[in-house]
Amino acid sequence: MFGIGLLKGLKTTLRAFFSKPVTLLYPYERVKIGDRGQGLIKLRVTSLDPVVFRCTGCGICEKNCPQRCITVTKKEGEKQPEIYTVNYGLCMFCRICIDICPFNALEQTQDAEHIGYCKQDFIWEKEKLAMESIYIVEEKAGSAGDAD
């Protein structure tokens, strides 16, 4: 009969009106990103003082990055990166660098938020890249020590 479709449409919207909104109040509530969510990269650290990176500065990640957003340099004879920057303005979070790293020096996080005022804010230095992974390594080291 003519008009049934209209009433069905009205019913649908009315049901939506009385049901709970699906949106989250973003700055106060955040979506939990799954474990396989691809977020920012973290550099792993083996010791805190002095800071020793697991990265040896081999530059394989730099060569394999499809966006060319990683820059790695190292001094001759050292096995630590001198400069390690990631340009998150270019990064597409493909995690090829993490998969390709032979020393397992990079870690994937679920943190997808990176905010800045200018382009420079999106170029992260090695200290900033390692910052949160320090705590992760520390925890892991502590628990590993207990087990020993």
């Binding site: 209209l6 449409g9 649908t12 919207t13 939506a16 949106t23």
Partner: protein, 327 residues
Amino acid sequence: MVWWSVLLWSLLKLLIAVMFIFITALVLIWLLRKVMGHMQYRRGPRHHGPHGIWQTVFDALKLLGKEDIVPTGADRWTFIWAPIIIFIPSLMAFVFLPFAEKIVATNIEISLFFVLAIMGLSIIALLMAGWGSNNKYALLGGLRSAAQMISYEIPMLISAMGVVMMSGSMNLSGIVRAQQHIWYIVPQIVGFFIFFSASLAEINSTPFDIPEAESEIVAGFNVEYSGFRFAAFFLAEFVNLFIVCALSVLLFFGGWLPFTNPVYGIIFFLVKTYVLIFLAMWIRSTFPRFRIDQFMDFGWKVLLPLSLANLLVTGVIVLIVDRFRGV
């Protein structure tokens, strides 16, 4: 009364009406955003006061603070005056709307006729805005709104005539008083549907918002407007929504009845009006926009014959009933 007291009294009434209009428009915009939000599984405005009630106030203030741009090549006077003129019919309609028994600014015998007549005036402002903007989309929007208003005014008026025939009065208070035994929604249900859908078309509400169809002609007649002139169009649209819903309540839902006490009357009248406004917003957030040819077809080939048939049947029944009563 001496002349200055008359003047002062009129100015006071005007001030009250303007205040009422602004507050109503702001509340309605907030309500629309809330209702639409919840109907789309969202929340609508939330910050700035409880449930975001101040959001529209700040939006209006923001628009007042914005730059007033008159485009090059615009017809300056028509462009500048159109947003002012669009407010005049809305303001004038409030003069004749009774809110409760004896709560009406000016009570004249043909107030229904007058309200419907001046509601039709807003077409001039939309045409002026369309012409004055010197923009093809604006001109198309203005012409579309002219076509829309002309084609939908006729079924709206004819469906209101059914109510006038039953009540035997063109005074809005008189029509409400005649509904003491039965609200006209019961005998005039077809008339109500015609009236309500035609009035939704009159105020450019969404299933009928072809004059400002974003996907076709950007924003229609208000594409070139910015700042407080844009705000004037926006507010006028929502004031008109209130007016047509109030008019529907007066004609079909017994206005302030069953209360004759002014305070309860006003409250009950506003409650009924807001229920109808909710209905309009519900329709607005449910249905997609008509295409322009479907829209004109609906007006001329469905609503107009239906309203004429409704008028004919109402006339015959009123005649028979009067004969039996021996009038």
